[in-house]
Point group: C2
Chain length 142, copies 2
Amino acid sequence: MKNSGVAGMQIGDLSAETGVNIETIRYYERIGLMAAPARNRGGRRVYEAAHVAQLRFIRNCRSFGFKVDDIRALLALPQNGGGAAEMEARELTSRHLTEVRRKITELKKLEAALKGMVSACTPGKQAECPIVASLARQATQP
Amino acid sequence: MKNSGVAGMQIGDLSAETGVNIETIRYYERIGLMAAPARNRGGRRVYEAAHVAQLRFIRNCRSFGFKVDDIRALLALPQNGGGAAEMEARELTSRHLTEVRRKITELKKLEAALKGMVSACTPGKQAECPIVASLARQATQP
DNA sequence: GCTACGATCTGTAGCGACTACAGGAGCAAG
DNA sequence: CTTGCTCCTGTAGTCGCTACAGATCGTAGC
């Protein structure tokens, strides 16, 4: 790692710096999520500090569960866009929050159902396995 | 629907009976999850009551979030396998339950983080959008 | 019989967000 | 000059479907 964190880094350095897989970095470039960097004479990608910041932003967004299209929208917001840009970021985030809450609710229902199945199952005690029995029922309970 | 729910139904009837998409039924057959049915002279699939039960089982498993490979394992258990089969079903289910709980924990952390972002954001009040700022940080908090 | 229409058939491609190669080229050290 | 690493492009695989295209089956009306 010759130039770590300052300028002129190659893809491996960027990967080490941000913790994002090399293949993933190239993928982000291909789908137009990340800005394409300059190339050296040999055709290798040369990244600057701005790329590090952008990729970190993307990685953080992904770790917060934002979809790639959301991130595209966030990156398209003007940096000092003022109120309008903030409103849009807030909108996007709170929509995402709603979705996360919906998933939590769903998973909690699932958890309760699975917990019930497991605790009903005391191997060797029943005639029929209660887990298989409940999975074989006509319809999932509403 | 000529033969509904009894015997000799075609794929459309099976789909209506179970609520599973026709294309999905064929997909399940292709990947070897569902038993392949007999065909009539014209090459059309002809399903019996056992297929309805099996597909309902599969659909219920999916609605409980089991993966296709898990379902394969559950279907491979002998119907009256006694204690050993029950143990395996229980094992599988409780492993799945653990995974569901892990996801809930993760999503709750996400929810808290997003909630914090949204409530910190009062458009027009700050110099910098706190959502974008928190997404631009060096690393996701541990 | 002929025609029209619906249901079904096969095979293939797309989704989202990567990941994993294969096969070739750049580049610095010994 | 060779070794050995990093990097390049392009393509295919993952999971669980879903969505076609284009052909065929089967039935009902005439």
